[in-house]
Symmetry: C2
Subunit: 420 residues, 2 copies
């Protein structure tokens, strides 16, 4: 049944046309239609000025069965959060507190804390518990505007536990209204039992985990943490090439803690995205540009860990498509709210509000190879959009620290409305 | 009617005893009672372990008429936001956008924008409009945990318009459940019509505005923006001394943009608080310490303006009582959420979660001379508290960017509950 979504003060289309991603100055173009309307079923059938919708209907060229008045508010595409670790168990508030007292993320990891704290909790948890905890977070993400979310495994680090995590992701995708994209990340860290047998763990991933994940069709992507203290580019390449043989496409945690050449590797293996990039080198930037890799920036992590931010302006100036994501996880960034990420992107990385919105929608969708279907409000794409309690879309970052989302729509259906 | 608030996983009393404020290491002491309960009427009648409440009742030593089970959640004192400008009209999103493109706050002010943009809008607005806009913001502040809020005039800059603003503040205090503390700030900026007659504007404040404000009993405090491009310490001293003659106690916007000796002035005139302090000098710190002035830090403003943050750790180390507030205003910090301010205080100023909470409660109350009544959960104080959806109070900053408030209680009554 076609629905006219009408009385939209600003309809932020993020107009992309045939482009799958926006780079450079195009990231500032939001394609705003004032006093607009949109005809939707599961997909968008028509977008334009409100008056035109009625003219077309009078001329018999457009029709709808019902109208939904959004009350003169702003409509934007739903956020595509292309990098999260929301399926986990336990809390790391103690470690958070230690860090504020001066301990570094690397020191905590070296002492057996960090990711391993969560790994121990996840191994001890059953599927139900993991589904329950993740559901709460994902509902919160949805209420803050996320309509598509990527979720990584990587807190299991045994074949059984990685499969458990990915099965939880599959259940969440069935049970929640959000669109969920699963990524296998057995190479999130070396488990302590393999600390002195690194190559054996790599082979476990390649010979046991990847075949099992592929056999059950549990993941679209394979991610590797390429950094000092984690996986070397060489180790990562072995894993990602094997993943590709099993049909899992590569993405990377790249150069977060040090410039280890991870961006260069991302380009070399044809990764869909290179994420973090706090310490990306000039050579890494050049490589990403040549390969057309999406740079997924996660300013909430630099904020939490009190690290220097990724060079967003340099990446944009270099013509690299920049996306923004939460990195939501219990250690280095416990935040599922994409509006918060947009605020940090503007205030701490110098992005413009328009660039941040493009990065959180169209370019996020590109980082998940879905920008032909998601990330902008154009005919033929899915009707995933937010109604915001704003007069001007730029107020989303101007007025920060609060949730501006009034309604969340996915596939042409309203899946959440804020209480009045 | 006495009510037992019970099943509190952590009752964060912020125990102060006879102290009106916490300094130094005491700022890390939250006085947490695990598995606690609290007997409240308008004030707190009893606080302690849950089991003890029942023992005392059995012994006939404590009684209550009803029980309120908070479901094993965390209870903290309500936030006291000691510095806001929430009564205004219009939006400054355009100026916000210009700043992200490189314009400075000073450049925008020099071009006639900045505070003057809001002054023009406020002069054109009537009381109803101002009440309506401020009510929306204050309800949002309340829902994010603020139970007491200071509000300044300063966007009128004529006698009539300053009185209009303060009458709006009085109406808000009557109509809303929050506790509201009014401050007169005719010395927020020089209005353009007095640009070349500074001393005449000072005299207008001293001879016309202050007597009128005092005659109607519209304000408790007088604030002056002492900085480059605003009021000199000498001008401010004339205003604040006159204000004191009319019974308005002094507080200051001090050394936000440059070290102009405003902290020293605050100490000299016996100001209740010196606020901002991004550029406070060593002499200023020494002066504040001697005078016992509360330093009200506003990290949301440094965040928004992309300025260096106030030296929170140096101020705490010097034994100065540090409070945190939003500075909520349409120009330099459009944020009414104290939880966001706590996050910025920890991540960007290096405060500990415990210090931030003390700064936002007891020390905020001290900055409004109300810490004998507010800011901690102790017998005799008002029952202003929050129920938080947390297992551990430190998670309030660990899990950032979302609202953790489930219930807001003021004077022993629940004034807001989050929808489930």
């Amino acid at each position: 049944m076609a629905l006219l979504v009408t009385n939209v003060r600003q309809l932020v289309t993020v107009r992309a046309g045939d482009a799958r991603v926006k780079v450079g100055e195009a990231m500032q173009e939001l394609g705003i239609i004032p006093d607009a309307a949109m005809v939707v079923e599961e997909r968008i059938l028509w977008v334009g000025p409100r008056a035109e919708a009625y003219s077309l209907r009078s001329a018999g060229l457009l029709q709808w069965e019902a109208e939904w008045d959004v009350g003169g508010r702003v409509v934007v595409p739903g956020f595509v959060d292309a990098h999260t670790h929301v399926v986990f168990s336990g809390s790391r508030v103690e470690e958070y507190s230690q860090r504020l007292r001066g301990a570094t993320y690397a020191e905590i990891a070296a002492a057996g804390g960090g990711i391993m704290t969560t790994v121990h909790a996840v191994r001890a948890a059953d599927e139900e518990e993991l589904v329950r905890q993740a559901s709460v977070l994902l509902w919160s993400a949805l209420q803050h505007g996320t309509t598509t979310v990527e979720i990584k495994s990587g807190y299991g680090l045994t074949t059984a536990d990685e499969l458990k995590l990915l099965r939880v992701v599959r259940r969440l995708a069935q049970e929640l209204p959000l669109r969920i994209v699963p990524t296998f990340m057995g190479a999130h860290a070396f488990p302590p039992e393999y600390r002195d047998r690194r190559s054996e763990y790599i082979e476990l991933i390649c010979q046991e985990m990847l075949p099992a994940v592929a056999a059950e069709g549990l993941a679209e992507y394979c991610d590797v943490f390429v950094d000092v203290g984690y996986f070397t580019p060489q180790e990562a390449e072995r894993i990602l090439r094997t993943a590709q043989d099993y049909g899992l496409r590569p993405r990377l945690h790249a150069d977060e803690l040090a410039p280890v050449g991870a961006a260069e590797l991302a380009a070399r293996v044809g990764a869909v995205s290179a994420d973090h990039l706090l310490h990306v080198s000039d050579a890494g930037i050049a490589a990403l540009r040549s390969a057309g890799t999406v740079a997924v920036l996660l300013p909430g992590t630099a904020y939490t860990l009190r690290l220097p931010y990724a060079p967003a302006r340099r990446l944009i100036a270099a013509g690299i498509p920049v996306a923004l994501a939460t990195d939501c996880n219990p250690g280095s960034c416990f935040c599922e709210n994409m509006q918060m990420v947009l605020s940090l992107a503007c205030q701490c990385m110098g992005m413009l509000p328009e660039e941040a919105l493009v990065a959180a929608t169209l370019n996020g969708a590109a980082a998940l190879e879905r920008s032909h279907l998601l990330g902008s409000l154009e005919v033929g794409k899915y009707a995933d959009f937010l109604v915001l309690r704003l007069q001007d879309v730029r107020e989303m970052v101007y007025h920060f620290g609060v949730n501006h989302v009034a309604e969340v729509w996915i596939g042409g259906r309203c899946v959440w409305r804020a209480p009045v």
